[in-house]
């Protein structure tokens, strides 16, 4: 019982990441019809927004020590972060809270990045075959990741959560089970809540405005929508920017859970495509549902009891479930007819 509860909790944060990435991806992929292989890279860029903000906040004033020397004989450097030197305690607080703080930077940056990417590149590919979209976005993904690699190196860079949020929440105790058995790191729970918030906002926006309908229509038939006086290009740009921002936010907040490295995007890329397709092309709720389904199932499959029954199941569960779902439901969980079926 405890174990199962734990695994459900445990599936939440990963599922939230899948769901958020898939949400942005399905906007680009299921709605705009662009096979965006750079979406993982957008997630990674978001994560590196957090890294950059942290680096900037902890930029050092470097003074050379007069007495101490390094092992190779040069004077030792003494470093004090500017933020601390200038703002005192507030500076320390800022550094501590750098991950949440970097959201403020990530949103405009990722929006801008998304908009530029759409204007400069993706726009010219709406009418081109999917294969060419794959090639160009994959090329872009490689370029982005290599740039990050040359700036930040290949090693993971840890981003601690704020001190105050590093603790554990004892869910077991809260529902009357033995204390200390069903615990969950606070930050992961915050990530889950954050994801729900983002997903909620996106859904509300699409539900209570005509934006979603117009974008869907534009996808089905750009020309006709244009003939009805709608500047579909602008809406596509906005959609793309929003999708990039969602991916970026998912990345920023994920850094305390998984230390980001330049390859982070590629690791999530394939899975997020699987999630989107299992959810069904063109369905936002589908993408979110599939994100949670696969994330939690993956958690379960990693339980020792399951693994001893079916060795290796934890490594293939996502794909296995994907196969089963796609074979029993032709268009995934909630896919719409005619989207990307040819």
């Amino acid at each position: 019982m405890d174990a199962i509860l734990l695994q459900i909790l445990n599936g939440l944060d990963k599922s939230s990441a899948y769901a958020m990435i898939a949400l942005g991806l399905t906007l680009i992929f299921g709605t705009l019809g662009v096979v965006n292989f750079a979406h993982g890279a957008l997630f990674m860029l978001g994560a590196f927004c957090a890294v950059t903000v942290h680096r900037l906040l902890s930029l050092d004033i470097v003074t050379l020590s007069a007495t101490e020397k390094t092992a190779w004989g040069t004077p030792m450097e003494i470093r004090t972060p500017y933020a601390e030197a200038w703002f005192g305690d507030f500076g320390t607080w800022l550094i501590d809270w750098s991950v949440p703080v970097s959201i403020l930077v990530a949103i405009p940056f990722m929006l801008l990045f998304g908009v530029l990417m759409e204007r400069g590149l993706i726009r010219h590919f709406y009418k081109r075959p999917h294969a060419e979209q794959i090639l160009v976005t994959f090329g872009l993904a490689i370029v982005l990741q290599e740039i990050i690699k040359s700036w930040f190196g290949a090693n993971p860079i840890p981003q601690p959560a704020p001190e105050a949020l590093r603790g554990m929440i004892d869910f077991g105790a809260a529902i009357g089970l033995e204390a200390g058995n069903v615990v969950y790191p606070a930050w992961r729970f915050i990530y889950f809540l954050f994801a729900m918030g983002v997903i909620g906002i996106v859904f509300a926006f699409l539900r209570y405005t005509t934006f979603g309908m117009v974008v869907r229509a534009g996808m089905a038939d750009r020309e006709t929508v244009g003939l009805l006086g709608i500047n579909i290009d602008r809406r596509f740009t906005i959609t793309f920017g929003a999708a990039a921002a969602i991916a970026g936010l998912a990345g920023v907040m994920y850094t305390p859970i998984l230390s980001p490295d330049y390859h982070l995007g590629m690791d999530f890329l394939v899975l997020s495509f699987v999630v989107v397709v299992v959810g069904g092309m063109g369905s936002l709720p589908g993408a979110v549902a599939a994100g949670f389904l696969l994330g939690i199932l993956q958690s379960f499959a990693s339980m020792n009891e399951v693994k001893s029954l079916l060795p290796g199941i934890d490594q293939i569960i996502i794909y296995l479930v994907a196969v089963v779902i796609l074979l029993t439901r032709p268009r995934g969980l909630m896919g719409r007819k005619g989207v990307m079926e040819t």
């Binding site: 994959f138 370029v143 394939v270 495509f273 040819t342």
Partner: protein, 394 residues
Amino acid sequence: MTVSSSSPRGDMLMMLGMIVAIVFGPIILAPFGAGYPDLMQKFAIYGIFAIGFNILFGLTGYLSFGHAAFLGVGSYSAVWMFKLLSMNVIPALILAILISGLFALVIGFITLRRSGIYFAILTLAFAQMSYNLAYSVLTPITNGETGLQLLLDDPRILDAPLASGDLPLANLFGLQMNSTYETSFLGMTLYFNAGYYLCGVILLVAFYFAMRIFRSPLGMMLKAIKSNQNRLNYTGVNTRPYTLTAFVISGIYAGLAGGLLACTDPLAGAERMQWTASGEVVLMTILGGAGTLLGPIIGAGAIKYFENIFSAFNESELNAVFSFLPDGLREAVVSVASTFVGEGWQLTLGVLFMLIVIFLPGGLLEGVRRILSLFNRPPGGGMEERSARVKSAA
């Protein structure tokens, strides 16, 4: 490439061009630093892989994201044949073809129930499952991460025992795959390698097969599937057997390529089945020009060339290359250039992908065509110049 635009003469010229290119491969490639056996073998092998992939993708439009699974299966089968039966490549290749064909039949039968992106993800899922299992649970068959290799104490039933301590070598009735005749020509070393010629001959056969398929009613049907599958059903054609045929043929091509990888280098690793490997053949095909006969070969060559030659540049070599520049300038040039070669080779590849799609929709072959049309040559001829130009473009 519609039926009407192909002429028997054009095809003949194309075939002749291929033969010339393969026979004189070592001479043509040497000036580009690519004329050594391993890379030439890889060109041919990945050429086969890409041609096969293109039969499925280029003709029917079914984008498989799991073709590397067949490559891997082919390799494993071939190595097992080496271990169990004989170091002769023939049985190994036969088994590779059989097993990968069977594997493709099963996977194709299941995945072809869906089309479009759903099909792509299904194939991806199967390949990833194969990869993950090969990496861990199936270690007794695949030797996990290390990869399946030849051991001194393998049974090799048909082969005579070797002097102790010597690992056997893959051969074709005694002609060893690694036997190479080296000679010097205009200051370059040329390598004429048995393994390369084996791969080359098989590439030729594979190419011929593909050409026949492109020009056959089957090819036309496959193109019709890409164009409007629904209509084809109402025209009285059951499309499933056609797509399945294409899938199995391309699976066999992949398996054959995998088998050849094992013949030229008897080790089969699981990462050959990873999605990145499947993605690579997709990129090769698109980069060269999907749906064309020569495109995939060119694309395969370009990517392998980058992977092997661009990654090998290091600073000292760059310094040598730019030694004609004054010191300060040279350092600047070298530091810029070094972000694109050596460990930056993937950056260059990424940039190349983007440039090609943006400026040459239709792939590298399209670029070759445009250049050729500048010279106003008849299509199909001038093969050496063709590949030469692609190289210099790359």
